[in-house]
């Protein structure tokens, strides 16, 4: 925990220094880094919401690992402040110069009631506060079951999750539109909300699988092959869900060929971002699809953990691919990108580990824990 904290702080200070040198470059790198980690944390929230709502028993074994990610949400809210402060360095609709183009002028004036600094910042604060409160409640009520007299708070968590599910879907759509889609103000894709949800769920499940493996290897948690098999199936399902939304996002845009829409993909399919687009198809989808569809891999601890780690890394490229071309279409990476992601990821990891210290690694007093421990699936 301390190593992650110190290393994260060093990277944070470096980013602060970079901000002084070139605020626009560092803020873009910071946006990519924060949204990458945020998609993973929201994915973990999504997994918790789905398992509570469906009243699933087996995920109880690994639930606390997902809950460890919940205290990261308010930390990410704080780490998002530089974006809100430096919004003018990132979003083109903040620049007067963007209005000089007649076509752009029309669209930007139309969107002004929505895309203006006050409303943008207010919405962002609303999303971050709401998600933070929800995340903390999810963890707090679960941890409360560990303490005598071990109240059964599952029904309360189930109601909270069911009510929050549509709210999460809508706020995530709003956040995706504000923070990512509005980087290209002329572009619109109606499926973008589902797309962001799928990205988050895939990343969250990958992180959860990796955490399960990590704790299993250290003999902290009695995770069985059946749990890995279940996690593997969920990972595969979300991989397909993400590919489905990504495919239709591309296909419908491509075949209709509207100038205002295809620009977004043209930017990513020619020039330096072409390689990254091909990686998205073959590296982020093709390879994991072929591997994860097999029964053997889903039941193999090591192989599944490897695929989870692979997908977690691929998720960074996905978020990068969504944002970076709007920064500079001629250059894929910036030196500040790894520094920013190191700062955000390490500080988030430190926050998760700090919140987890002294806590049970599994909700052993949850009424469904026994069922989860006995879970068998062939």
């Amino acid at each position: 925990m301390w190593t992650a904290l110190v290393a994260g702080l060093v990277a944070l200070i470096a980013c602060g220094f970079g901000f002084w040198l070139d605020p626009s470059r560092v803020l873009f790198a910071w946006l990519i880094a924060v949204l990458y980690v945020m998609t993973v944390v929201i994915g973990l929230m999504g997994v918790l919401v789905i398992t509570y709502t469906m009243n699933a028993g087996w995920p109880t074994m690994v639930r606390r690992l997902a809950e460890a990610g919940m205290p990261v949400m308010p930390v990410l809210g704080v780490l998002f402040i530089p974006i809100l402060v430096g919004v003018g360095h990132i979003y083109p609709w903040m620049h007067v110069a963007a209005f000089s183009d007649p076509a752009m002028h029309k669209i930007l004036v139309h969107k002004l009631p929505y895309l203006n600094p006050t409303f943008f910042v207010s919405r962002s604060v609303f999303y971050l506060v709401l998600w933070s409160v929800f995340a903390l409640l999810l963890r707090r009520w679960s941890v409360a079951m560990d303490q005598p007299p071990h109240p059964n708070l599952r029904p309360r968590l189930r109601v909270l999750s069911a009510v929050m599910a549509p709210i999460m879907g809508m706020t995530l759509t709003g956040a995706g539109t504000d923070w990512i889609m509005s980087l290209a103000p002329e572009w619109v894709s109606y499926i973008f909300g589902y797309y962001v949800m799928a990205v988050a769920l895939l990343g969250g499940t990958a992180a959860l699988t990796l955490a399960a493996y990590w704790n299993d290897r250290r003999s902290h948690l009695p995770v069985t092959v059946s749990h890995y098999y279940a996690l593997g199936r969920v990972l595969f399902t979300f991989l397909v869900l993400w590919a489905y939304t990504a495919y239709f996002n591309y296909f419908i845009t491509w075949i209709a060929n509207k100038p205002s829409e295809v620009r977004w993909f043209v930017l990513r399919s020619v020039g330096p971002f072409r390689a990254m687009s091909l990686f998205t198809i073959f590296g982020h989808f093709g390879f994991p699809f072929v591997v994860l569809i097999t029964y053997v891999v889903k039941r193999s601890r090591g192989l599944l953990a490897f695929m989870a780690a692979y997908l977690l890394i691929a998720q960074y490229f996905e978020v990068h691919w969504l944002i970076a071309p709007e920064r500079d279409a001629t250059r894929v990476f910036d030196w500040w990108d790894p520094v920013a992601v190191a700062a955000v990821a390490l500080l988030s990891l430190a926050a998760a580990l700090w919140a987890q210290r002294g806590r049970l690694l599994a909700p052993a007093f949850d009424p469904r824990f026994g069922e989860a421990a006995r879970y068998e699936s062939w």
């Binding site: 969107k111 894709s189 109606y190």
Partner: protein, 453 residues
Amino acid sequence: MADTPVITGELSPPKLHEQLLSPMWTPRGRVFLFGLALSGLATLLGAFAITYSIWRGTGVWGNNIPVAWAFPIINFVWWIGIGHAGTFISAILLLLEQRWRTSINRVAEAMTLFAVAQAGLYPLLHLGRPWFAYWLVPYPATMHVWPNFKSALPWDAAAVFTYALVSLLFWYLGLVPDLAAMRDRAPGRLRKRIYGVFAMGWRGSVQHWRRYRVTYGLLGGLATPLVVSVHSVVSTDYAISLVPGWHETIFPPYFVGGAIYSGFAMVIILMVPIRRVFGMQNVVTTRHLDAMGKMLLVTGWVVAYSYIAEWFYAWYGGDYSEQYMFWHQYLFGPGAPVVWTALFCNMVVPQFFWSRRIRQNDLLSWVLSIFALVGMWAERFMIIADSLQRDYLPSSWYYYAPTWVDWSIFVGTMGFFALLFLLFVRFVPFIPTAEVMELAHEMQKEKQEEAAA
């Protein structure tokens, strides 16, 4: 509050066997015969309207440019959507190891087949010259003329045909052990012979069951992507175009959500009378109603979310025609009552299913499910007819109204659906007997283990 078990009452095999199979040979009452006659009459009306349409040409319908896709395509999408719950219950719930699927999967699968049959009829008639329907198939033609694969029509043909084929195989495979049971138990030689032919020599040996399990699992895996793919393909019929209100990347998940929503509504509409008329409350319990109500709530939210997203992005995108379509034509245009009906039935009505009491009340669930089906039909009317009535050129705006032939064909498909369904519950074991018996056995074993512990 603990959930009701998926089977209640006595779980003894002979009693269950008798209860589930005897409706096939118990004489039917007047109500059944009245239903049969009514659905038969409606089918005849549909057949007459179809014959008339082919005889006179499609000019007898209300379709006219720019509303070239009207009733036929609205009803095609509505019916094919209804079919989705069958595949969802058979395939996805099977892979998710959900026990509550067991008692209702046969009815849902049959419903799928009968709904797909109605759906498939419409694009064929809409071709105008249905006798050339085989042109949609990429057969080795002498002139090397192939279907235009960039057109959505061959996609639909491929998607619907695959769907119908896999659904039929899945349904029939599940039926084989029950048909064999009918062969062994049905009174009269003729019945025994007929069921015997369809049972294809099933003897229930270990080898038979092993092969059955493997094939059933494989078909489940094959059918799972179909739940999503068919309606996604259907949605691209619209989304690939430039028509305002159609060109939306959200259409595939939005259509799939709506399809499963209407499908579960139809399963409730069919299951509620079945459990009452045949006294099946012990195998189709409040647990089933509760689970189906939750599915309606979840998929209703998918639809509601999609509406919110499309109305918002129509404004956000800034395209004038798109804004006009969503914020004026839909809400205040000539089709506004239909649009408001869709919004009410698909956004407000599912919210009733938050209440467990409503979910477990069969009569209320049944009434709300009818609203859901009406809502989904209204949604298809909104998307298809309302969008086409007013596109980019105000000079070509047109007010669409269906003719008596359109309505007659629609009533005919409903009648044909009902007729097939009534014949199905008369002659085919509509509750999967073998599966229910196996589940009852498992539940009894679990009870004994719990008692021993």
